[in-house]
Symmetry: C2
Amino acid sequence: MDFTEATTVVPDGGRYAAAVAEGWDILGNANGGYLLAMAARAMADAAGRPDPVTITAHYLAPGRPGPVTIDPVVVKEGRTFTTVRASLASPERPLLELVGTFGDVADRDGMPERVDGGPPDLPSRQDCTPRDAPGEAPAFMSKVELLLHPDDRGFATGAKSGLPRMRGWFGWPDGSDVDTFGLLVAADAFPPTIFNTHLPVGWTPTVELTVHVRGRPAPGPLACSFTTRFVTGGFLEEDGEVWDATGRLVAQSRQLALLPRG
Amino acid sequence: MDFTEATTVVPDGGRYAAAVAEGWDILGNANGGYLLAMAARAMADAAGRPDPVTITAHYLAPGRPGPVTIDPVVVKEGRTFTTVRASLASPERPLLELVGTFGDVADRDGMPERVDGGPPDLPSRQDCTPRDAPGEAPAFMSKVELLLHPDDRGFATGAKSGLPRMRGWFGWPDGSDVDTFGLLVAADAFPPTIFNTHLPVGWTPTVELTVHVRGRPAPGPLACSFTTRFVTGGFLEEDGEVWDATGRLVAQSRQLALLPRG
């Protein structure tokens, strides 16, 4: 089931019905960016705006395949933006609590720009590498095309770089265009940065993820970069940048993840 | 009226009553970090947890002096953290929509750390400078002690550095300790980074502000740094770091601000 189908939301008397699809998970837990994108679709529909401009989710419980509901509430409808809060819940429990501001991200093209930085320096897609050996990939990795910079794949081969960094290409396996909701998946699809350090950490659950969408991506693969500067106080941040094929920053993300105890 | 008094929230049948105090404004608009701290106090009280761990506010309308209400709703009570959503509203309209996760930030001391970076290189407080000439400061500047790095005060003297950066010391005027709610004010108290660039921008309204609290500050002044890398698509981010007097990162922030047209 492709991204569009797997994030379809159906209006149902003020709420939206959806289903967490099979295969969008890592070890049984639905990918956080996928759940975010699903919620964002319902929130954008409720807002009557095409794009998430900035959206934050707090992750309350893991998502499993099966039905969920999303109940967006418009809290402010402005001239240019509409702000919506929502929760995404399974029949058993709330999974995500969200707030987002929606608008048209192409609306403000032509404003003054000042960019300090550029896309990550990636080898061609042919010279980047899937995360896992064939047959060993989590199901989620068949839903996205994620090709890692060879220098950042050491966690999988036992040759860690020591640097909390993940860079690579993101797209859909069928080559279709990534829209502004797909950017929310790109922002949480890469392996944790900390896997490439020598800290003994096997997983880092997301507490909170915020994505700022800066533009609608041009067709073509997205160059992504994720870094961590501060593992401290039992938490770490992951800062993400997503650049489109024309070299334009289309999304910036930050998540707060928990460093689990021993 | 000092910070503690100006952010007092009074439980009132599931809601909390508070008042935007006189003097916590810039040109009549209450400071965004101050409103965030006020809402966070009510949310933490509802959660029964001492500290904001990560909190996000979307700014819907400017806050004016006078009564407000905050209506926190606990959405998930976990073993270590409690997640709460809330809105902060004047009698006329909603001002902030929020979601936050609360806990005890000292709870996770002693976990592995890996820190890439350190406090900004600031001259002593004696060699830093208030934002404005005496008598010209916005009222808010009497509520905080904010001393700018001389290199970042060019916007006020006509000698802009050209770099979107603001660094300086933050504290309370009476020298009292800054708690984890005060960190939320520190995260939004400095002049916009973009003032030091040559872009013709007079104000940058905050759309969204997220603060991650990494620790309870030690007594003493806080060294703060704010930078912007991407002015693009009609928006800019401001990334903040707040370091305590022992050289420990105590908060990290990011806001999305709007680049107003012409």
